[in-house]
Symmetry: C2
Subunit: 317 residues, 2 copies
Amino acid sequence: MWMDNEFLQGEMQQIEEQLKKALKTRNKTVQNALIKLQQSGGKRLRPVLTVLGATFGNYDASTVIPLAASLEVIHMATLIHDDIIDDTKLRRGSETLHSMLGRDVAVYTGDFLFTRAFMLIADIAEVKLMKDISKGMAYICDGEIDQNEQRYSKATTVKQYLKRISGKTAALFALSLASGGYKTGCSKRITNKLGVIGKDIGMAFQIIDDILDFTGSESKIGKPAFNDVIQGVYTLPVIFALNSKYKAETEAALDKMQQDAGNSLKEVLEKAGVIDKARKIAMRYVEKARSKTLELPDALGKEIILEIIDQQISRKF
Amino acid sequence: MWMDNEFLQGEMQQIEEQLKKALKTRNKTVQNALIKLQQSGGKRLRPVLTVLGATFGNYDASTVIPLAASLEVIHMATLIHDDIIDDTKLRRGSETLHSMLGRDVAVYTGDFLFTRAFMLIADIAEVKLMKDISKGMAYICDGEIDQNEQRYSKATTVKQYLKRISGKTAALFALSLASGGYKTGCSKRITNKLGVIGKDIGMAFQIIDDILDFTGSESKIGKPAFNDVIQGVYTLPVIFALNSKYKAETEAALDKMQQDAGNSLKEVLEKAGVIDKARKIAMRYVEKARSKTLELPDALGKEIILEIIDQQISRKF
């Protein structure tokens, strides 16, 4: 498993230390909540991708680690704001920050983390990255705004769905992998390729994440099942079902979501075979990412990127 | 009046154009709301201070204008997030963004504006300013978090109040004036002095703003009277009253705030003379700011800064 790679473990430990510093604040309540947030972990996929992308150039931990940490901090900030909107109580199996601190403090804590991310990037004195990362963050906001506009809309198209997850998730994956390469002096061609690979990994990641909302158990995915649908966020399987001969049944199942805890929706999604259909779309992104990774020059990170890509389809949480 | 100054008017027009560009987004609903937000105006004090600070160095509009605009964008973003928390419906006499778009989209629109502010700063390629502005934003978050922790607390001290407004307001005023000087190559001594003056103006500004919550009319201040107290935000006059012989009466008036629309609170604040007492504190900051401004070398902005300082005490909105 790639998590056992010695080099990566060393770097990840440094990233955790950097994160710990970045999450320091003088308010004790907020500080404790942020410590819990860090301890509850998460996959740390974004900083891992940054480190891996950086192995294609002249790797230098003193700049790669703060950069990688900044991308995780941005991710944490967006999670905090997402959880406020969706009123999510559990994340990664732990109480969410807004559930611990209340909505009000959570808004500012998210903002605070954005400022910390920018300080980390400013520390490594990289204006071009500042612009790219700001742009990436703007894409995330766009994606989230799209998601909110499409909430409870049974007319959401596959194209709209793909555009929205491209903004809310894939943009940051792309940025994570590409910025690592950029920072260590990779050519424009390789940096761009890393970006495309990152984007495809992000697309696959989010589609699988959305599928797990239907198939995963609360204990494994660390949040309540059917959370998205309850929040009116209709993802790929539902969109497929709404565009199949099971349209009427799906609509009815969505409408009585609250009463039967998703049982009839689960049934119609199974009948329509749309979970598999969505998984195939994710598989396509995985294959694109894999073939482009094989075109990359040899580097320490290449094998690990391939492992991460392959893992996307089989992951259970 | 300083607003009629020809130089400043020209610069402000450019700032409005820069703001218009910075607030561009592909989502039409958000775009319209942001256009309304810009049109509803506001005093634009922060970018004005940046322009004025910049006149103490080698003024160059091509960098000063984006910098000034970025500080207004940060201010707008924090206003949007504040209005969500306080559930404010009116701001500057216009419907607030979260009232137009809903809480959810407003959270992301605030985030989106932060990214735009950072893009502006990255565009003028200034790493040191990035750090300073990130730090300034962190202070704002700290101040807002403090304010939330102190909400409905009758034990809030004057010291806590001053610390919280120093974070939530004065830090950005300080940054606005100082960054203008810094960007145009002022000496460290002058830049620092501009920062101290900006901070004192911000302190006076916020104390007066808090007083206007009690004394202003909705039509003039553009938001409902007694809004702060209703939200549990106890400002200087209330804190003074709670520390006077009218303590019990003030407590009782706060408790029945919702029923009698603030009538008894207004009465006890008048009796206790705490509005004047708070105004005197603001006056002290004004005097400090004025004497430090007089120590500055001659520059186009010096007289205007003095006018802005003097205006703080008499302003009615």
